[in-house]
């Protein structure tokens, strides 16, 4: 009996979904195009060959060796050799280079005579990623330059090779980037941004689908299809969405973990489970929004606000502990945040499942939200009002 009611409701929704192209766009094409776009945009992992200029004011054999050193690092591509600082700054303003390296006049002579000399490097840090990368690379070169000059000087002055070694680098630092040794940007960005984009589409489609019933005056018929039960009406409406969105979500995972071989250091089933719960949690949030504001425009506006701010408050790029407390607190009510934490713990770092238990509980807790507004939603469906 109950099964029949549900089937009836599901059938009605399938009919609705197939009536309009926009659902195909919003549910399938948009999330997948975001996936393909982001992963292909950053397929190289790091933006290598950053256009850089050199201002070599000394131009001796030694300084040319430094320039060759610069060229040899994979991040740097010397595109311009200019004769003064102003010219380099001009190139930067025109967007042709992202940084430059300056070797001062009489560099070689002063260095060899033991005077204090200085090289300087500039990056256009308003472009964050190439700026930071270039900084790292230019810093390495300047350190190496310093080492080369000093050791030449010391050996000339009669020091032994061993003494020179110890004097140059008394403390050696080695860095191990756990699970992402390539510092691959797409691994870092796509794993959080693509599911968050999926969440945005789930919120919008769910709100659109529920509140459209009110707009088009079909909400009573919708309730009637499940014999007046709001719960069954919602279940019937959202079940087909759940299936489609989960399939898209799993495709995203399959593409990233399977096809692109992004790190997956846990059991695959954990991530699959997380994705399905994540989809349902987002649907529950959208139902809650529709229940509070049973008006198509408002429900969509709030879903849109919520979905877009998730990208920032979810703290996928800027850490939560640095944000102001009044803002950071909102991260607790964002499903994407929990999915991201599960991903980081499980797929990326491969920690035991025990440490992620609360994130799963939190995602599941979202499922209670619709029950809080069930009555209000039913009332709105019985008396549909459309305010444009």
């Amino acid at each position: 009996m109950l099964g029949k009611i549900l089937a009836n409701s599901v059938k009605r929704e399938l009919h609705k979904l197939s009536e309009r192209y926009i659902y195909v766009f919003a549910m399938i094409l948009i999330p997948i195009s975001v996936l393909l776009l982001l992963t292909s945009l950053m397929e190289e992992g790091l933006p290598l060959h950053i256009p850089t200029a050199v201002v070599d004011l000394d131009n001796t054999v030694e300084t040319r060796a430094i320039v060759r050193n610069l060229k040899s690092s994979p991040e740097v591509e010397i595109t311009h050799k200019v004769s003064d600082y102003a010219e380099a700054v001009q190139l930067m303003k025109e967007g042709k280079i992202y940084g430059f390296f300056v070797i001062p006049y009489d560099f070689t002579r002063d260095a060899m005579s033991g005077k204090s000399v200085q090289v300087s490097y500039y990056t256009n840090s308003t472009f964050y990623i190439p700026g930071s990368l270039l900084y790292k690379s230019l810093k390495t070169t300047s350190t190496l330059t310093s080492a080369a000059v000093v050791s030449t000087y010391l050996i000339n002055a009669g020091a032994t090779e061993r003494q020179v070694q110890a004097l140059l680098q008394p403390v050696k630092l080695q860095t191990n980037q756990l699970s992402n040794p390539w510092t691959h940007y797409s691994v870092y960005v796509s794993n959080s941004f693509v599911p968050c984009a999926l969440a945005l589409m789930i919120l919008l489609v769910t709100s659109f689908s529920i509140c459209s019933e009110e707009k088009r005056g079909t909400s009573r018929e919708w309730l009637a299809a499940s014999r007046g039960s709001m719960l069954f009406a919602l279940a019937g409406k959202l079940l087909p969405h759940t299936v489609i969105f989960s399939a898209v979500g799993l495709f995203i995972q399959a593409y990233m973990f399977g096809f692109l071989h992004y790190p997956l250091n846990c059991d695959l089933w954990i991530m699959i489970l997380a994705m399905v719960i994540f989809v349902v949690a987002n649907q529950a949030v959208a139902v809650f929004i529709c229940g509070i504001l049973p008006n198509l425009r408002w429900a969509l506006s709030i879903s849109c606000l919520y979905g877009m701010l998730s990208f920032s408050i979810g703290a996928f790029s800027f850490p939560l502990e640095q944000m102001y407390g009044g803002i950071a607190i909102f991260s607790y009510v964002i499903p994407s945040r929990y999915y991201f934490l599960i991903y980081a713990d499980q797929a990326l770092n491969g920690f035991p499942l025990y440490y992620s238990r609360f994130y799963f509980v939190a995602l599941l807790a979202f499922l209670f939200l619709p029950f809080l507004v069930m009555k209000r939603l039913k009332k709105a469906q019985n008396n549909p009002v459309y305010v444009p």
Binding site: I22, L41, I129, S146, L173, C211
Partner: protein
């Protein structure tokens, strides 16, 4: 003369009509006024702390010597990192990490002190969580500074120990680093100038497409005729009139976005305000005509949410402000180039942060005008086609 008169008359009629329609529509007003006013503020507040300070690390000190403790003190004292605790071994440190008590592990080698005493390099290893790259950046910076500082102190000791036999150490080659355009290397300073420009395009497109959807709904209800539309005006004056309405409705918000938001949060403002305004003119025109093209596909007021909102994320990436354009393949660069926001963001960011003049961003400026022309023709042709279709439909 008569033609010119009708043209001007048509423009004014469209302006009058479109202006009233927009002002009466609450949804459109939200997009045109509330969103551009509040969104940048919210974003700026989220990222306002700018830097990732005091990232917690756990220390596994196998050396337990004066030198290793000195190193830990230096790490703790740095701006970017702090020592959250000491672990007995790597297993315990890993547990700290799983419990989110730290995001990095510093392992000091057992022979750290002895090696340094012997005149060999002492080994320090950093294991870093990679879920957020900004944390990795902070930790790397803190550790590099701490080891280098300790290194130079050791060097002084070493020289003193070698005594009179030691060669006089030359002043080593110094290096100076100048991050231009974003001296603090802050997150908000880099992200927000791009966002404020993107907001212009996204809100305008949403508003214009919502107007289009509303018009379509009116036509559907009234047998293919929009009762609130102007009658008998030509396509070109209609497009000009509409563009005029949206430009004038948005002028204050633009001023707020490109001048006040950076001023409130004291981001670099190196550019000339009027040149920035001038750069935004083709940008806004391009966006309006793009909107007037996309408007034709809009069948419902609210469906714009479903197809336009999400584009903000891909467009932010395609703009080249996050990920540099030289690292993209040809197709993606072309795709990004089709949107006015890409060129305007590039131009504005360089003007605002690097003090580029309008002539320095001339390439972007020309591309923006090219897009204006392109989208104008697309809007023109699209409007002609849909008007013809409507005509056929109404007659039959």
């Amino acid at each position: 003369m008569k033609i010119a008169g009708k043209f001007i008359n048509d423009v004014f009629r469209t302006v009058h009509n479109e202006f009233l329609l927009a002002m009466k529509d609450k949804g459109v007003m939200i997009f045109l006024f509330i969103v551009p006013l509040l969104y940048p503020l919210v974003y700026a507040l989220i990222y306002n702390p700018e830097l990732d300070r005091d990232v917690p690390v756990a220390v596994v000190d196998r050396s337990r010597s004066t030198k290793s403790r000195d190193l830990c003190r230096r790490i703790d004292a740095s701006e970017a990192a702090m020592v959250a605790g000491y672990a007995a071994d790597m297993e315990e440190a890993k547990r700290f990490m799983a419990e989110k008590k730290c995001y990095g592990i510093v392992l000091v080698d057992k022979d750290f002190d002895r090696n340094i005493g012997r005149g060999e390099p002492g080994q320090v290893t950093l294991y870093c969580d990679m879920s957020l790259l900004i944390r990795y950046k902070s930790l790397l910076m803190a550790l590099t500074e701490a080891t280098m500082d300790l290194g130079s102190d050791i060097r002084v000791e070493e020289v003193a120990r070698l005594g009179a036999d030691a060669p006089s150490i030359p002043a080593t080659v110094g290096s100076a680093y100048f991050p231009l355009g974003n001296p603090e290397q802050g997150f908000a300073t880099f992200l927000l100038p791009g966002i404020v420009i993107l907001v212009v395009q996204q809100t305008m497109l949403l508003a214009i497409c919502m107007m289009g959807g509303a018009g379509y709904e009116r036509r559907r209800r009234n047998g293919g005729v929009d009762p609130l539309d102007t009658v008998g005006s030509g396509t070109v004056p209609r497009l000009f009139g509409k563009a005029l309405v949206y430009l004038s409705l948005y002028i204050l918000q633009l001023f707020y976005l490109i001048y006040f938001v950076p001023a409130i949060f004291s981001y670099p403002q190196m550019g000339n305000l009027w040149e920035e305004f001038l750069m935004c003119l083709p940008y806004m025109l391009g966006v309006v005509f793009m909107g007037l093209t996309l408007q034709l596909f809009s069948r419902e007021r609210e469906s714009v949410f479903l197809v336009i909102v999400f584009t903000s994320v891909p467009l932010l990436f395609l703009s080249g402000v996050l990920w540099p354009t030289f690292g993209m393949n040809g197709f993606l660069r072309f795709l990004g180039g089709c949107f006015p926001s890409t060129w305007a963001m590039q131009a504005f960011v360089r003007m605002n942060a690097n003090g580029a003049t309008l002539s320095d961003v001339s390439h972007e400026f020309y591309m923006l005008w090219l897009l204006v022309i392109m989208y104008f023709f697309m809007a023109f042709i699209g409007n002609k086609i849909s008007a013809y279709r409507r005509h056929v439909k109404v007659r039959s």
